[in-house]
Amino acid sequence: MSFEMWAEKYRPKRLDEMVDQKEIVERLKSFVKARNVPHCIFAGPPGTGKTTAALCLARDFYGEGYREHLMELNASDERGIDVVRETVKTFARSRSIGEIPFKILILDEADNMTSDAQQALRRTMERYTETCRFILCANYSGKIIEPIQSRCAPFRFTFLPREEHDKYIKQIAERENVQLLPDGVDAIFEVCGGDLRRAINTLQAAASVNKPVDAKLVYSITGRASPADVQKMLTTAIKGDFLGARKQLRDMIQKYGVAGSDIIRQIHTEIFKATEIPEPWKIKLAGIVGEIDYRLVEGSDEEVQLSALLARLVEAGYEMKK
């Protein structure tokens, strides 16, 4: 076993090494061939290879010295307008030395930028197109303002299909000499839902326990957001105990650091599995889950949003009893 973060160790270096997003990779390769690239938006859920693709593209363009021609900024950490005015501009306007006449700026988590900063960015992109190409990575392209979207080539990243996911995880396990059992693979997929970074982190954490990696081990380490916990919270809510359910939610989020998006995804799954929920109610509840999911995406407080959902479940439970 090696002693670094596997998610980084196994990050593909070249476009050729990328396991999925085949169409995207093909288009990116054609940019490299043409020695030109437009501004791009890489949109898609976390752990689907957006940053990786951007880094691979840069390496394919500039070779191993790619760092000199590349700047990585993270909008979550530096989201203000000042960053655009100072850092981005300074980088963007200086000419690149070498065969490729432009530099690349990767703006990660761009959907976290304020709209003011985005407006400033739009002007910078326009003005310095010749010397710098922008790759904006975002979970939701909808949170990027229209004028920027229209200046970028859009790329939509999707979760890895199950087979690809499994293949990749098993391959890493093999190389790291980790004994990974089939139900362990299932559990990793269930918990991470195709987010490869999380899947690899989960595998590494499970492997650190020095036992064969099975479903039980996976659930025990993944912040207890096991289906059983979510199920318990659902039942508590449907029975009418809002405060109890909220307490369980709080524990999951605060004590065990489970992400709100995980919980909501699991609630969604559980609703369709639960036998105590009458069939006609399931789709109604799914609609409510969807609405709350959307509000979460808008960047709201996880606990507040999820407890609003729990209150709806309490209401539904009450109606069902009638």
Partner: protein, 406 residues
């Protein structure tokens, strides 16, 4: 339609003014004496606590007597030019047209410090030669700064009117507005105002506007305006409010910030909403309030705060349709805030580890602390060898390592 009632129902005549009969009589006689020539004292100094009717008396009397009223207030006294302009007005009286004019200098307390010392002197100089009545108004006529000025004025004290008189005034307003009001509701508002008629009228408007009938129950929460009564009553007011307006008003009375108030409501509202529909409705309102907080963050447009307030106060209050009273349920301190303050140091630690991860893993520090930390913890607890390797790779210091192992 939404004019302030203090303006809309301002006494049109001195006869309508609440209380202070003696003071008004003295003042009115002094003004009238001007028609027989310049009296011995050319200025009247009306003083007394806020909201008892000093300015209104001058305005109403001018109207009653058909005199022109020239009003100035504190900010106008500062520049020499302004003082000279009103000096000009003061000297003209009666000289040509026998015109009837009152010059009112309001808010004299607003003159401050040495900078305005000249102002008081200039005013005194003008009074000495004034050809028309000059009225000065301040809360405290016995301020040392006015020593010299006082000797040129007749001093008229305005006192707090009795609660019964304030109630009478409110009653008159309610009749004009066509609102039926319980007698003891009026008394309650009047008493609470402690003789400040203006604040009584403001309170009354806040409570009664748009209503057909105002009961004692509707007004009793007014008592909670007293600050030390604080957050508990504020919460009660929001959760049990029957109108959107009164629920929203709680925010103005709150000494806490909006986010803090949100936490209090979020923590406590559920226990007071016993009906599941009401509960779902209220939690949805809080959810929407939170959505608008997010929109403020992304747009940086703070005007959206009004929707946050609407949802978290009126939204919650109006959800309460079927719930029975929760009985005596004590309000609790928001447990999320407790956790937050407890974990402040922890958050700083998480962020500094996040920054280390960021350097290696192409991910933001905040995201890293969410997506990598939980796994690192497991690794650091279970596998010393792997932990050592990763600590070196990430360049973690001893404190960070201890935290991850802890």
């Amino acid at each position: 339609m939404y004019a302030a009632w203090t303006v809309k129902h301002k006494p049109a005549s001195v006869a309508e003014i609440v209380g202070n009969t003696e003071a008004i009589k003295t003042f009115s006689e002094w003004i009238k004496s001007w028609s027989k020539g310049v009296p011995k004292k050319r200025a009247a100094f009306l003083y007394g606590p806020p909201g008892v009717g000093k300015t209104v008396t001058v305005e109403a009397l001018a109207k009653d007597l058909g005199m022109e009223l020239v009003e100035k207030n504190a900010s106008d006294y500062r520049t020499e030019e302004a003082v000279n302009r009103f000096a000009g007005l003061a000297s003209q009286y009666g000289s040509l047209f026998g015109s009837r004019r009152i010059i009112l200098l309001d808010e004299l307390d607003g003159l401050t410090g040495n900078a305005d010392k000249g102002g008081v002197k200039a005013i005194t100089d003008i009074i000495k030669t004034a050809q028309c009545p000059i009225v000065l108004i301040a809360n405290n006529a016995y301020d040392p700064r006015f020593i010299n000025l006082r000797s040129y004025c007749i001093l008229i004290e305005f006192k707090k009117p009795a609660a019964s008189e304030v109630a009478k005034h409110l009653k008159r307003i309610s009749e004009r507005e066509g609102i039926q009001v319980d007698e003891n509701a009026l008394k309650f508002i009047a008493q609470r105002s402690e003789g400040d008629v203006r604040s009584a009228v403001n309170d009354f408007q806040a409570l009664a506007q748009g209503k057909k009938r105002l009961t004692y129950e509707d007004v009793s929460w007014l008592g909670y305006r007293d600050r030390q009564d604080s957050i508990f009553n504020l919460l009660r007011m929001i959760i049990y409010s029957r109108t959107s307006a009164s629920a929203k008003q709680a925010v103005d009375m709150a000494d806490v910030d909006i986010d803090m108030l949100f936490e209090w409501i979020y923590e406590n509202a559920p226990e007071h909403l016993t009906d599941p529909h009401d509960l779902a409705q209220a939690m949805d309102a809080l959810s929407m309030a939170d959505v608008y907080r997010g929109r403020i963050r992304t747009t940086q447009d703070w005007s959206f705060i009004r929707y946050v307030i609407d949802y978290m106060t009126a939204g919650v209050a109006m959800s309460r349709q079927r719930s029975k009273s929760a009985g005596w349920t004590p309000f609790k301190f928001p447990s999320r805030i407790q956790m937050l303050s407890r974990s402040k140091a922890e958050r700083a630690m998480k962020l500094s580890i996040g920054l280390k991860i960021k350097r290696k893993c192409h991910i933001s520090a905040s995201r890293a602390s969410k997506e990598f930390l939980p796994y690192l913890r497991i690794i650091f607890k279970n596998n010393a060898e792997m932990a050592d390797g990763i600590a070196k790779w990430l360049d973690l210091d001893d404190e960070m390592i201890a935290y991850l192992k802890g």
